[in-house]
Symmetry: C2
Subunit: 299 residues, 2 copies
């Protein structure tokens, strides 16, 4: 069977099962009172970057998607290594510009590049591994959501989808990982589960549902849809299924959530339920949220 | 200027200088009484693997080259993450075989795969990041070699070059990182500098010379050339310039080296000198060892 018939998500389930890896944004390594958080993400010019993307965009994006995983666990970034594959006919200036994008991103969010590898490859490929730290009592794994918890997102959603449609590369690629928000949530110690929204809201809810053996009710009129997305007729599709939003999705006991709302730009969008279904309430009616979103290896 | 006109080594110097990264096999992160060792290596089917290489070979090799970097610092492997890029028309069985190669290698040398990423790419690309631990007083950085120190290698050399010429893929790709030897050297606490020989003896000596501001005298008749290499007329070329030997190259005060020789399969091959030259003594005459070896982006 070809990978295109399997799909990225199923492949990931296969690997995590084979190696008994908890399915989370980061790995948690024991480091005394803290966890060392580790995450790796690979991006590829041909399959990740629309035409017109600059090398600066690629460098920033490759770094930022990793930082977003650290943010989702409540971590503080401390270090990175970068494995970079490039064609031999690439201009040195392009390479330098890509490093510049990576560097500016780390300056913004903290942590330092401590090592790497540069190899010849058919096309530009960047695999960053990011390291973060978080106190054990502050860490926010994906597992922990309980029925009756409220469901929240930071900021607004649909932004990544709209940017993709509009070919707005700055908005699409110069993403801003929610490190500050992740740290605030972590320090509150009330969040029961958290992940980033890179795969889209629908897909992320399905991943959380599976891990926690729960379901979700989401209210359409509570979704904080980004202005840039509202301009599109299919704004709900963008908000639910497009991905590329590097906001945080989290669950929290209802009363605790209300306290957090006073301090942070977060929006309640629904609640956790016991039943294994994921439902959107729209104009008073129940609609099934489908298990789809951006995914590699899907035709 | 194209990367092919710059070459991998110069690119690496450029990056390490830009980010003030010590030029070593691993990054050293402070972790109390220990260092957390981090290294990343990317391999690519087209540019790293001769025709006939199996997916098992690729998985093992991608993992083993990283483990070799941990070995060179005296470390014990603890964890890995793997970012894997694959074309969508790849068979799932090939992917499974590759994971099998990675898994068998970690079972042999220790440590566990704790995370990863699987993405669509033009060709098979594997970027592993490996983590190890070593006590601070046992760690063996590249920097530290002193004039008059003896120069040693573990095992035998020329093996990788001979395997490449003979298209012996088992020998070339199922490499055996020197974790045990690295740990023994580390525990001895007498080694003044160490690195692995992946780039070839000549290139490795030049890298050590630059970092330590020293030179080397190497004795041709003391080189432990592998049997498989001796069969080739150009065995000296294989031993000096081909690379692909995942042995350890290290320096140690002369008397301490003699003690180590009693306990381990190591061979003295020369000595560190103050003058910045790297010389081979062959039949009583001095020959310059050239600064070349296997390198990406070189035509």
């Amino acid at each position: 069977m070809k990978l295109s018939q399997v799909g990225e998500r199923k492949l990931t389930y296969y690997v995590t099962k084979k190696f008994s890896i908890p399915f989370d944004d980061c790995a948690f390594l024991d480091a005394g009172e803290e966890y060392l958080l580790i995450t790796t993400d690979m991006v590829n010019r041909k399959t990740h970057f629309p035409e017109g993307s600059t090398f600066y965009h690629m460098g920033w994006y490759a770094m930022a998607v990793n930082i977003s995983d650290i943010a989702a666990k409540g971590g503080k970034p401390i270090a990175y290594v970068a494995a970079i594959g490039m064609p031999e006919n690439l201009e040195k200036e392009n390479y330098e510009e890509m490093l510049e994008g990576m560097e500016k991103c780390t300056e913004e969010y903290g942590g330092k590049l401590v090592g790497g590898d540069t190899k010849e490859a058919d096309d530009v490929t960047i695999a960053i591994t990011a390291f973060g730290k978080v106190r054990k009592d502050e860490a926010m794994p994906r597992k922990g959501a309980k029925p009756e918890d409220a469901v929240y997102v930071t900021g607004s959603i649909g932004r990544g989808g709209a940017a993709l449609l509009e070919k707005n590369l700055e908005e699409l690629l110069l993403i801003k990982p929610k490190i500050k928000e992740g740290r605030m949530l972590a320090k509150s110690k009330v969040v029961t589960s958290c992940m980033d929204l890179s795969d889209g809201l629908a897909s992320s809810l399905y991943q959380l549902a599976k891990i926690n053996n729960v379901g979700f009710i989401i209210y359409e009129d509570m979704l904080p849809v980004a202005e840039i997305a509202k301009k599109h007729e299919n704004w709900l599709e963008l908000a639910l299924y497009y991905g590329g939003d590097y906001e945080l999705l989290f669950t929290v006991p209802e009363e605790k959530g209300k306290e957090l709302e006073k301090k942070m730009d977060i929006k309640r969008i629904g609640k956790v339920i016991e039943e294994n279904k994921i439902t959107l309430i729209k104009e008073g009616k129940e609609h099934k949220i489908e298990d789809r979103g951006y995914e590699h290896f899907r035709m």
